[in-house]
Every structure is written in structure tokens, then in C-alpha cells.
Chain length 144, copies 2
Amino acid sequence: MTKKPDEATVAAWIGLSRAQRVAMARVEARLKAEGLPPLAWYDALWELEKAGEQGLRPYELERAMLFEQYNLSRLAERLCRAGLIERDACPHDRRGRVLKISEAGRAMRRRMWDTYSEAIEEAVGAKFSLAEARSLAALLRKLE
Amino acid sequence: MTKKPDEATVAAWIGLSRAQRVAMARVEARLKAEGLPPLAWYDALWELEKAGEQGLRPYELERAMLFEQYNLSRLAERLCRAGLIERDACPHDRRGRVLKISEAGRAMRRRMWDTYSEAIEEAVGAKFSLAEARSLAALLRKLE
DNA sequence: GATGGGTAGATGCAATTGCATTGACCTAGA
DNA sequence: TCTAGGTCAATGCAATTGCATCTACCCATC
């Protein structure tokens, strides 16, 4: 039989799923209450904003966001329909696309951040001291 | 303006979503590879097994699992169709139901645990010392 | 310059989830 | 007892996700 997890590992696993679901639900609820789009939109817009002028290929964004290929394809379509990104043909690879954030996209990202950041503070910041938050972030980084 | 999160808080938040998604994806993939049902089934079966003889009302299971009411209603229906639980009328409240795990349900839960526990060990246990796992679990508990 | 194997992205279809609402019942208070 | 307001669970419908597959294209090799 392969190695089994000890108590602490199981507790960490359970804590991870529950904590994430609780925190995520609070943050998403906050965005929805303001009539804003879901978090995935923010993530995509932020990655594209960071990428700057030359944008990102869908497969790059897909990896940055840990999204499935088909989900990213559809998310991009929705963002495009909403006018928040542009989806051009790729000059170097005719199979491909290049995704770029639009002005409206930048505005939406900023607007979402106002609410999102408050929600993060409430859901996470308020529960921890600075040292605890650092410690948690460091531990979580080891999981990837 | 309401209080904004500091760097460490944002890092903890991002770490939380990414770590959870990575770990969850690995564990779910493992179950799927063995032809087993998704994790939510395990959670439900485990809660019902812990509840023992008298079972649980759907709304109790819903709270234990942090599920939406309509999702739990449908999950219960699927589990029932698969023969893993029983869904009886509730004697004390004629609106309600009582969910109980079946023998097949207990067998399935055990079978899933063989794979699930290995996956937890790989996805979480292998990344941490005992002290780290304890520390992570303790920090995550503060989030709820 | 053909071709086989691989990568990028899209999409049809089925399953699941989210949302709003319903129907049935419970319970506290007039 | 009757009723108003609430809770429990289910469900119609729309949106999203998962899965499998498709088309178009790239590229290394012959």
C-alpha cells in the first residue's frame, strides 16, 4: 500500500478546501452584489493588463490562469463580446490569436479592484496579523 | 475609502486560490483516472457515514458541505440513483427528507478513500514537514 | 516539397451549476 | 382556529463547464 497521509496533512487538506470555498464565496458574493462580473474576468483582465501592449496568446493566458483550454476559449469570447478585450489574429502563427485588454477592459478592472480589494481585506486581511499572512502565503507557495 | 489589503494579505489570497486549484485538480484527476466519482460524492458519503443510523436532513448536509441548497438537492438525487444513499420521508417534518448512506455507499466511500488518501498525500503531505502541515492547518482554520 | 506528428483554438453535445420560483409544510401569535 | 411569515426541498430555465473531437496550421524529417 502506498503511503497514507497523517492527521496534520488531512487537516491541512480539509482546511484548504473549506477556507478557500468560504473566502471565495464571500468575495464572489461581494462582486455580484455590486453588479460586477465574476472573479475569473478580473484575473484575465489583470493578466492582460500586466502583459501590456503585445497582449497574450490564449494558451499563455490559459496557463497563467490555470484554466482549461476550452474554458479559456469561451471566457475570451465573452470578454470580447463585452468589449473588454480584443481578440486579433496572430501575425506569427496563423492558427493563433492575440488577446489584448481594451480601454473599457482597463476601466472595468479598476472598478472591480475597488470592490475586490475590499473583499479580500474583509475575507482574509481582517483574520490575520501581518506575520500570519506572510507565513500563510509562504506555506501555500510550497503547494504548487 | 475602506481599508485596503496589504501585500501579504493579497499574497495569501492569491496563494490560497492557486494552491487550492492546483491541489484539487490533482486529486480530482486521480479519482477520475481510477474511474471513481467526484470528490463531492466522497464528502457527502463521509458526512452521512459519520452521522450514522439516523442519517442527516438535506439542510444539515448542505451546511456541513457548504453546498448551495439546489446543488445538494441534485447531488442527493444522483447519489440516490446510484444506490449509494437512501432518501426517505422525514417522520417529524413532512416537508423534509432524511438521507442515509447505504451499504453500497459505505463500500464506495472506502474504495474512494484508498485513492483519495494517496492523492492527498501526494498533493499535500509530500510538500510539508509535520510542523508545516500543522501550522498551515491552524492558519487556515482562522479563515472560517 | 511531401508528410507525420504535434500544437492552437473552436465547438457540438451532455452534465452540472446558478437563479428564481414553487409547493408543501411548520410555527408563532392574534 | 386561522393566518402570516418562515423553512424545506424540488424544479424550469439559462448559463457555464467538461469531454471529445475538429479544423487549421506549424515544424522536423525525409
